[in-house]
């Protein structure tokens, strides 16, 4: 089974702080790495995604850092807000005939006011 390992399982951050979630993968054929945000009772929503030809991608307060040699990628949430409290999933896909996403187990983020 091709795996994506995500840590930590849960994270508590103070308002205004930086939230960091890490993921590691095994399959070097993966070429697409999205992050999803899921609120209770809702489906996951695409937050930001990166491909391995870049080492960093920033969208607003959300940044993905990607280390191809280490087979690791991470999500940084700057100036974390209580509204960011949700479960975050990293995922990976090999595209083409393997376009389905392999998800990490998720990180439950709580941002304290």
């Amino acid at each position: 089974q091709q795996q994506v390992k995500q840590s930590p399982q849960s994270l508590i951050v103070q308002k205004g702080g930086i939230s960091i979630i890490n993921c590691a993968y095994e399959n070097t054929a993966f070429d697409y790495f999205p992050w999803y945000q899921q609120f209770p009772g809702k489906g996951p929503a695409l937050l930001i995604a990166i491909r391995p030809d870049v080492s960093e991608k920033k969208e607003g307060r959300f940044t993905i850092s990607f280390n191809k040699s280490a087979k690791q990628f991470s999500l940084h949430i700057m100036d974390s807000q209580p509204g960011d409290s949700a479960t975050y999933f990293c995922a990976a896909s090999a595209g083409g005939s393997q376009g389905n996403l392999i998800f990490g187990k998720g990180t439950k983020l709580s941002v304290k006011p």
């Binding site: 489906g43 996951p44 929503a45 695409l46 083409g96 376009g99 389905n100 996403l101 998800f103 998720g106």
Partner: protein
Amino acid sequence: EAGVTQSPTHLIKTRGQQATLRCSPISGHTSVYWYQQALGLGLQFLLWYDEGEERNRGNFPPRFSGRQFPNYSSELNVNALELEDSALYLCASSLDAGEQFFGPGTRLTVL
């Protein structure tokens, strides 16, 4: 633009029965993916349909099946329901094999 829609929102069945879940993709999207989100197991890939064909299948038994219709909507069928099939079933659609957009899911409860 309307997002991915799924029906029903909730479904309650008993062991041994069959369940049918439906998904309408975002307009213009040709690929539909099905995932199972069970407590403690995260999101697990079930099936991928594109242009009416099954493109890939996850590690689930054959009693999980589906199809994609000419209008790109899709149906997931689960036969001979077991208690452990209780989960949130999520459908996603995409225009290519990259960005997938999820629907709100169907909560299946097997009693």
